[in-house]
Structure formats: structure tokens, C-alpha cells
């Protein structure tokens, strides 16, 4: 399979891959093709180990000597603490479980895929990655580590999470606010179907602490287009609220309310300079990741960094 094909793999196909790690790698491979370079990098002074070159690695880390001996490209890795800590906040609230049917890619599955892929990229370049998500007993937190084997642990934790009930992104944000001491990168994966003001209050705090924020708002096409045309009893996925209504009649008002929410959210994000991405679950994840890594905001960050 060529890298071009990988980049275009649909979410449905990716979900078919059982291992989240493999899934993440596939996404990453699709995202970092050809001339793309990883925008995240940590600096190091002590050599730690060699590893095989993979596309996207900087050429300056290739150990040419080793190449002369082995006729294979290897890059050098250094063991000094990374200077980038990435915190992944993955929302596993009930609303992320949509849609629930078999074969469909739920928002959580999609977000998990993105989070794992991002973790994969970061760890592979020796950055520390921490994961924060909803567990059965409150927030489940994996502290930042940079070992390559840590990626498997992250994937296992994500796999073990089942989106449910009355927890939302606000809890994760609160947790991050309490626990993240060092400056780093914070990536949020959620649908953000919460009160914009409350959400932005938390995000502003994180931002004010100097974190580099990447926000992925994962939404399903049904939420964005509301294609229903029947009489439904719409039930909340997080609490006992419901609404009996004719979809066709309520569509206009719904779209209006959604649009207002999105506009407020996006405006607030833009105002404080958050790297904000609205992601549909039917988008190819590789493309989403590539767009994020190579987007104007990331390029700006790179410029600042170097």
C-alpha cells in the first residue's frame, strides 16, 4: 500500500484494524508522507540508541557512519529529558459514543484514533506524552513518559475506556489545570457540546499558563447536518433529558442553535490563539492529522520555536 493510499484511508477502514497502535501508526504514516516534517521536536545531547529511519525523520539525525557500515539508514536518539511534554485530553463522555450502531465510527473511536496517532508521533520522536481521559472512577491519568514502549500503554488505556454518562470535558480540563505543572502542549479531543463560556474559562486558564493548545472538536455528520425526517423521541446520551419532536420541524431551529454554538466557540478559540480544528468523523484521520501538523498555526509555532 502506498503512502498516498494510506493517507486516504477512511475512518471505517481504520476502525476495522483491531490494534489501536497499528491504527495510530497507519494514521501517522498517512499523515507524514514525503516532504512533511514533524513539527514537534525535542532537543537532546546524550546518545541513547539507534532506530531505523522512517520517512519524516530529520536527515541531520541520520548516523552516516552506521549507514556506511550497514548500508541502512538509522537515526540517532538521545536520552536527555525531552523538552516537550504533550498532554492528551481525550473526552469519553456519553455524547462521544455517538453513533452507537455497529459498523459506524463513533466520535470517541475517531478521537481515540487521533489521540493515539498523535501520541505515536510524539513518542517516536522522544517527546513525553501524558494521557488524561475518563475512567470508571473519575479521571484516568497516565503521566508523561517518552519511552517507545509507553505508546502501547497509552493505547491499552484508551482501548479500555468506554464512553459513558455524566462526565464531560470540563472534568478533564479541571484535572489538567490541577495536575499539569510544566509548560507543554495540551491536545484536547472532544465534541465540546458544553457551555461555551464555562469551557472557554478553563481553556483560558490553560492558555495563560503558557501551554500550547491543540483542540480537536470531533463531530458526527448527523450533528452537523441533522438529516432526520421522522418523528423521534430524542434522548440525551448523558442524562435523562429527552424531546419528542418531528425532526423536520425542529431542524431549522436546531441548525440555528448549533451554528450559534459553533460560531461562539470558534470565535473564542480564535481570540486566544488556540489551534482549533473541527473534525468530522467521516474525514480521513490521516488528512486531519496532516492538516493539523502542517496548518498555519503549527507553522507559526515552529517559527517561534526555532
Amino acid at each position: 500500500m502506498s503512502t498516498g493510499q494510506i493517507a486516504n484511508l477512511s475512518p471505517e477502514v481504520l476502525v476495522g484494524i483491531k490494534s489501536l497502535l497499528v491504527r495510530a501508526r497507519t494514521v501517522v504514516e498517512g499523515a507524514l508522507v514525503g516532504e512533511h516534517v514533524s513539527p514537534f521536536r525535542g532537543g537532546s545531547v546524550e546518545f541513547a540508541q539507534h532506530r531505523s529511519y522512517s520517512p519524516g525523520d530529520e536527515l541531520r539525525y541520520i548516523d552516516w557512519r552506521l549507514f556506511a557500515r550497514t548500508d541502512h539508514y538509522h537515526v540517532k536518539q538521545f536520552e536527555v529529558t525531552t523538552n516537550l511534554r504533550a498532554y492528551l485530553l481525550l473526552d469519553a463522555s456519553g455524547s462521544m459514543d455517538y453513533p452507537t450502531g455497529h459498523g459506524a465510527v463513533s466520535k470517541f473511536q475517531y478521537a481515540a484514533m487521533l489521540a493515539a496517532a498523535l501520541a505515536y508521533i510524539l513518542i517516536r520522536q522522544s517527546d513525553s506524552v501524558a494521557l488524561s481521559t475518563h475512567g470508571e472512577k473519575g479521571v484516568k491519568f497516565l503521566p508523561p513518559r517518552s519511552q517507545i514502549a509507553y505508546i502501547q500503554q497509552i493505547c491499552d488505556v484508551i482501548d479500555s475506556v468506554q464512553p459513558s454518562g455524566g462526565q464531560d470535558i470540563m472534568g478533564l480540563l479541571q484535572h489538567a489545570q490541577d495536575r499539569i505543572v510544566h509548560r507543554g502542549m495540551v491536545a484536547l479531543f472532544s465534541d465540546f457540546l458544553v457551555d461555551v463560556d464555562a469551557l472557554m474559562a478553563k481553556i483560558r486558564i490553560l492558555k495563560s499558563r503558557g501551554h500550547d493548545l491543540i483542540v480537536f472538536q470531533v463531530l458526527h455528520a448527523d450533528e452537523l447536518e441533522f438529516p432526520f425526517n421522522r418523528f423521534y423521541r430524542f434522548e440525551s446520551m448523558e442524562d435523562s433529558r429527552f424531546l419528542v419532536a418531528d425532526s423536520k420541524q425542529i431542524r431549522a431551529q436546531y441548525m440555528e442553535a448549533l451554528q450559534e454554538h459553533q460560531e461562539r466557540l470558534s470565535e473564542a478559540m480564535r481570540k486566544i490563539g488556540v489551534d482549533y480544528h473541527i473534525v468530522r468523523t467521516d474525514d480521513a484521520p490521516s488528512r486531519v492529522l496532516a492538516n493539523c501538523l502542517n496548518g498555519p498555526m503549527r507553522a507559526q509555532k515552529l517559527r517561534k520555536m526555532y
Partner: protein, 663 residues
């Protein structure tokens, strides 16, 4: 039933309003069936719902309203609404000359809904006149006497209305209609309205007009709201023609529904019995009741109350509740031989079973007549007897007996003329007719013919030809000639001698001089003759007259009410009422039974004929340019309008329902 100006032909359909409960129930209880669907962005939906909720409620109420209206309009259609004609073109012509023709026949006394047709008609006329200006030219004609019209303006007619009463006559509208046309022509009205108020029975017209009169806009107001009138009535009670011991009760069902009822017969001695019977709609039946000699003087026949109460009771006095004793004096040397007159006579009276028919017969030769025999007999029949026993016959007549004399070859005219001279009669000679000639009934109102209709008697004498007869002259005014030849020569002469009665048949009663004895009218003729002769002053001589006949005969003024049947007591109707009356004629008291006209008891209407589809009568009114009041012109339009409403509402309701999903 009327609502504003809309009336309903079938108000019972309003029971259907109960169905209104269904949409109400649906509205109160119905919850839309919705599929459950877990959806994350419920916040936005709930926010949208607030805006939408008001519209939802409005549409739900609209849906219920439309459903209610659909039911309501359906009920209205089934209730057959019609709009009072005053909204029509004619009603607006408030000053157009108008002639009002009011049917005041006895059938207008029916009251199927508690109100008599006549009163309703008067009330409708009053309403109509209220809409007209008081000075607008208006004439009121009564069907019973169309020649008499006095009012000229609406105000005058209005003043006249309270005085109007229904008659017990059988007036037809024909004369009134003709008179109305004449009046319009006479008064040179270019355009006039004729409003006919009638109960709509077939009997209202002898002949429905078939030509339009362009100067006359006829509006036919059948005051009957519901098509049917229940009337089980007593049409006629009389003695059976061929059986003196029985009475025949004619029953009529004037409504369309089959009726089952008890006819109650109460005798003057208090004995009462019930006779159940069943009669189909618009049908007639005759029931016979045998009387014995002890039958009391009067029988009250009573039917249950119904929509028309005037024919529910008749008090009848049987005339022939006593067996007639008839003494036959046959001039033939061998009486009772097959060719003898007495044989034919006896044959007519029932031969050996004559007693069952109410006759005791004794056949003797003229010579055998004795005072004892006269005493025994009610009627003496001298059949072709050569010599009269003048003294004995006169004694018999004086004693109130009836005497019947027939002629023949053996009659000694000279001897008989001595007897006849006392009564102004004279036999001249025997005449032979070549060819034989028929005898004709000249006086159908003669009591002799009362039990049968005129047509029946006319047919009884059909084919009877007289070959020979004795020319008899009638000198006194007292004598009547009910049957004669075409030139007036008497064939049958009757004398009411008070007390006795004398009848002379100027031909033979066997086949010698004529063929009457072979005719089928011979039996009823002989039996009726015997009954007529047997009637004396002491015998109640009830005659069946209809009210209208009494009026026509001009004897109404001489009637004294002997008995007025219960339904009519205290009833203020003009004209003679049904019942038994007495009148005095020639120092003699005659009882007259006055009854209602048969046809007036039948309430079959033109609409009912049309409904049955056996007659194109529906178009009869249209042929004459009549417009119906009850089926007013706006009715079909109203119904179409309602139907249109229902369609539109169904469409809207369907749309609203669809908007709210599949229910």
C-alpha cells in the same frame, strides 16, 4: 327543527354529534408514536423546542378543530339541511302580488309531530306575511271554498288567519289552483306568486296540473316535515252486502310502515273484544264480524291513537242484526220448480242455507196468504201473482211490512190496478221490446244502492236486457224510479209509505221476460231489495255518507248530532263531523252516519311514490312549474358547500397530521 334560518329534514342525525367525542378523545389521549433515538446534541434540540412549542400547540388545536368540524359537517349533511325559502329569489319579492291557497281538507288535521298540519300551515303563512309589507296585494283561498275570498292585502289576510279552521271535508286543490289562475288573470297581475300550503298527500289533488303558467310562480309548501304519517284508520263500517248478519270493517293504513294493532269493539251493553290485525303500508283490508240477533244497537270500533286521530273511532249501529223473515208468494202453480220465479228468488237468498245468510224463507201460493203469515213476515214478495189480496196487502203495508211485486204473464192488470190506485200507480199494458233493452240506474243516491259504490251497481246491471215489461205509470211524487229505461219508462218503482215500503219491478224476476236472473247483479239486487223493504222507522237506517257528500247533498243543515264520537268531542272544526246524526224527513226520523272520505285517510305523498320508483310523480310538480318549499333551492348548494368544507378540512388535517409524523 330549525337553527337560525336553516332547517333540517332529518334532525335525528344530530345524534351523530356524539361522534365528536372521538376527535376529543384522540386529542386528549393520543400521544404521537415516536422512535427512541439517542442523540448527543440534545441541548440544541431543547433550545430549539422552546421556539417551536407554541406552533406545535396551535397546530394541535387546529388539527382537533378540523377533526371536530369534519364530524360536525358530516352530521349536518346527514341532517339534510335546507334553507328557509325567504332567502331565495321569491322571498325577496316582498311586494309581489301573492295568492295563498290553503288546503283545509280533513287530512290537514293530522299531527305527526304534535302539531296539526293545519296549524303549522297557518303559522307558516303568518311568518310569511310578517315579511311582507302590510299593503302588498295578497289573497287567501281555501281549498274547500275557493270562490270565497275576501282579504286583499297582507294585513287583511293576517287578521283573517286566527279564524281559519280545518274542515272535515275532502276538498281538493284543483279548484283553488284554477281559481288562483283566474284571479291573477282577472287582476291583470303580470307576475304573481302562488303559495300552496298542503299536507302533500296524494288526495290533495284530483289531477296535478301539468302546464306551466308563466304569470304564476308556484311554491308548493308541503308542511309535512317528515315524509311519513302513521295512520291506521277505520275507513268504513257497514253491513256485508250479501250477508245481513255480518258487518264489514274497512281498515286503511295511511302510512308507509306496516302496522300491527288491536281493533277494539265495544258493544253498547259494555261487552268488549279485541281483534288483532296487521296491515302493510298504504294498504287496505276488510275484516268481517258476524252479528247475532242479540247484537246490541251500537258497536264502538276503536283503533289505537296515531298521528291522525279523526278516524280512530267509529260508532256503528248494525242494520241487519236481525234475521229477515221473507214470505214469497209465487203465482206459479208449481212454486220452487226450476223455472219458477220463487226458485230464482230463493236461490238469490241462499237456497237451503238461507238462514245462514240471515233469511227465513216461506214460499206459498198467493191464495195461502193469511194475517198470521203477514204478522210473521218482514217482507212479502208477490212474484207474478195473478190476483192481489188487496186488503191483506194493504194491511201488511200499514203494519210497516215491505211488499215487493214483480210482473209476469199471469198478472191480472185490472185487479192489480185496484190495489195500485191507492198508491198513485197504474199498469197500462204489457210491452214487448225488440230488441231487448237495458235498464239504467237513475238515482244512485237512492237508499237501495247505498251499500255499494255507484260503479258496482252500474256493473251489476251490465248485460241485463229487458224483453217484456208492464208499462206502469207513476202518479204521485212520493214514488221514486231508481231504475228505468233510457227513455225514463219505469223499470223499478219504490214507494216509501211510512211505515211500509212498496217496490214494483215491472218485468219478471225469472227468465220469461228478461235475462236478469242470470246476471251476476241479481243476487245483490234481491238481497239489497229485501233489506230496503225490511227497514222501518223503528229500524235504524244508518247511511254512510262522507262528510263531503253530506255537504254536497245539502242536508248538512238538517243534521242533528245524535252522537259525536269521542275524538271529535270539543273539537273545533267546521262542517259536519264524523258520527251518527239524525234528520227528519217527512215526519220520519232518519239516521245518517257521516264518515270521513276514504282518500283523506291515506297520507301517501308524491315523494313516497317517487321514492318507490314506480311512478315519475317527482317530476309532476316540476311539470307544472311548482317549486317545493321543503326541498328549498339552497339545500343542494348548502350540502355541496359542506362537502367542499369536509374535503378541504380533510386535506388540511391530513397535512397537519403528516407534519407531526406517522401516527
Amino acid at each position: 327543527m330549525s337553527l337560525l334560518n336553516i332547517s333540517f329534514l332529518a334532525p335525528l342525525a344530530f345524534v351523530g354529534l356524539l361522534v365528536l367525542g372521538v376527535p376529543l378523545y384522540l386529542h386528549m389521549r393520543h400521544k404521537p408514536r415516536a422512535e427512541r433515538y439517542a442523540f448527543p446534541a440534545i441541548d440544541f434540540l431543547l433550545r430549539a423546542e422552546k421556539k417551536r412549542k407554541r406552533r406545535f400547540h396551535v397546530e394541535q388545536w387546529l388539527l382537533m378543530l378540523f377533526r371536530l368540524l369534519i364530524v360536525l359537517f358530516l352530521v349536518l349533511i346527514f341532517a339534510k339541511p335546507y334553507v328557509d325559502e325567504k332567502f331565495g329569489a321569491s322571498g325577496l319579492k316582498v311586494n309581489t302580488p301573492m295568492v295563498i291557497l290553503l288546503d283545509d281538507s280533513v287530512s290537514m288535521m293530522a299531527a305527526p309531530e304534535g302539531e296539526r298540519f293545519f296549524d303549522r300551515a297557518v303559522s307558516q303563512i303568518r311568518d310569511l306575511l310578517d315579511q311582507r309589507s302590510g299593503a302588498s296585494p295578497t289573497l287567501l283561498l281555501l281549498a274547500s271554498n275557493p270562490e270565497a275570498f275576501s282579504a286583499q292585502t297582507s294585513a287583511e289576510v293576517s287578521a283573517l288567519l286566527p279564524q281559519l279552521k280545518a274542515t272535515t271535508g275532502a276538498a281538493r286543490l284543483d279548484d283553488g289552483y284554477r281559481k288562483a289562475r283566474e284571479l291573477v288573470k282577472e287582476k291583470e297581475w303580470n307576475q304573481a306568486i302562488l303559495r300552496i300550503y298542503t299536507d302533500g298527500s296524494l288526495s290533495a289533488w284530483s289531477q296535478v296540473p301539468s302546464e306551466r303558467d308563466n304569470a304564476l310562480e308556484v311554491i308548493y309548501n308541503a308542511v309535512r316535515n317528515k315524509p311519513d304519517v302513521a295512520n291506521l284508520g277505520l275507513a268504513k263500517v257497514d253491513q256485508v252486502a250479501a250477508d245481513a248478519g255480518s258487518i264489514e270493517v274497512g281498515l286503511v293504513n295511511g302510512g308507509s310502515a306496516g302496522g300491527q294493532a288491536d281493533l277494539q269493539l265495544t258493544f253498547s251493553d259494555g261487552v268488549s273484544l279485541k281483534h288483532p290485525f296487521r296491515l302493510d303500508g298504504f294498504d287496505r283490508a276488510a275484516h268481517r264480524f258476524g252479528m247475532n240477533q242479540e247484537t246490541p244497537a251500537t258497536i264502538t270500533l276503536r283503533l289505537p291513537d296515531d298521528d291522525f286521530d279523526l278516524d280512530n273511532e267509529i260508532i256503528y249501529a248494525p242494520r241487519g242484526n236481525r234475521r229477515l223473515k221473507i214470505l214469497i208468494l209465487d203465482g206459479d202453480p208449481s212454486p220452487e220448480a226450476l223455472h219458477a220465479e220463487s226458485f230464482f228468488f230463493k236461490n238469490a237468498l241462499g237456497l237451503e242455507e238461507s238462514q245462514q245468510y240471515g233469511y227465513d224463507l216461506d214460499i206459498i201460493s198467493p191464495a195461502g196468504l193469511t194475517p198470521a203469515k203477514i204478522e210473521w213476515a218482514d217482507v212479502l214478495c208477490m212474484l207474478n201473482a195473478d190476483l192481489p189480496q188487496t186488503t191483506l196487502l194493504k194491511q201488511a203495508l200499514a203494519a210497516g211490512k215491505g211488499v215487493f211485486i214483480s210482473q209476469g204473464a199471469r198478472v191480472d192488470t185490472t185487479a192489480w190496478n185496484q190495489f195500485f190506485s191507492d198508491y198513485g200507480l197504474e199498469i197500462w199494458e204489457t210491452k214487448t221490446l225488440e230488441p231487448a233493452m237495458p235498464g239504467l240506474i237513475r238515482e244512485f243516491d237512492h237508499p237501495l244502492f247505498s251499500p255499494f259504490e255507484q260503479d258496482a251497481w252500474a256493473s251489476y246491471l251490465e248485460g241485463v236486457n229487458i224483453g217484456r215489461f208492464n208499462l206502469l205509470t207513476v202518479g204521485r211524487g212520493q214514488a221514486k224510479v231508481p231504475i228505468a229505461f233510457a227513455d225514463g219508462t219505469p223499470l223499478l218503482v219504490t214507494l216509501d209509505l211510512n211505515p211500509g215500503r212498496l217496490v214494483v219491478w215491472t218485468s219478471s224476476m225469472d227468465l220469461d221476460w228478461n235475462n236478469f236472473a242470470l246476471g251476476f247483479g241479481y243476487v245483490p239486487f234481491v238481497r239489497q231489495m229485501m233489506r230496503y223493504l225490511a227497514e222501518q222507522d223503528s229500524t235504524v237506517a244508518y247511511q254512510n255518507y262522507t262528510v263531503s257528500e253530506v255537504t254536497a247533498l245539502g242536508i248538512a243543515d238538517t243534521l242533528n248530532p245524535k252522537h259525536i264520537a269521542a275524538p271529535f268531542r270539543g273539537l273545533d272544526i267546521s262542517g259536519p263531523k264524523p258520527g251518527i246524526y239524525t234528520r227528519t224527513v217527512d215526519n220520519r226520523t232518519e239516521f245518517v252516519q257521516v264518515r270521513l272520505d276514504d282518500e283523506e285517510l291515506n297520507f301517501k305523498s308524491f315523494e313516497q311514490i317517487a321514492d318507490q320508483g314506480d311512478d315519475p310523480s317527482q317530476s309532476m310538480m316540476e311539470q307544472a312549474g311548482f317549486r317545493s318549499y321543503v326541498r328549498a333551492e339552497l339545500a343542494p348548494q348548502v350540502q355541496w358547500l359542506l362537502f367542499g368544507f369536509i374535503l378541504v378540512e380533510s386535506f388540511v388535517a391530513a397535512r397537519v397530521s403528516r407534519q407531526w409524523g406517522r401516527r
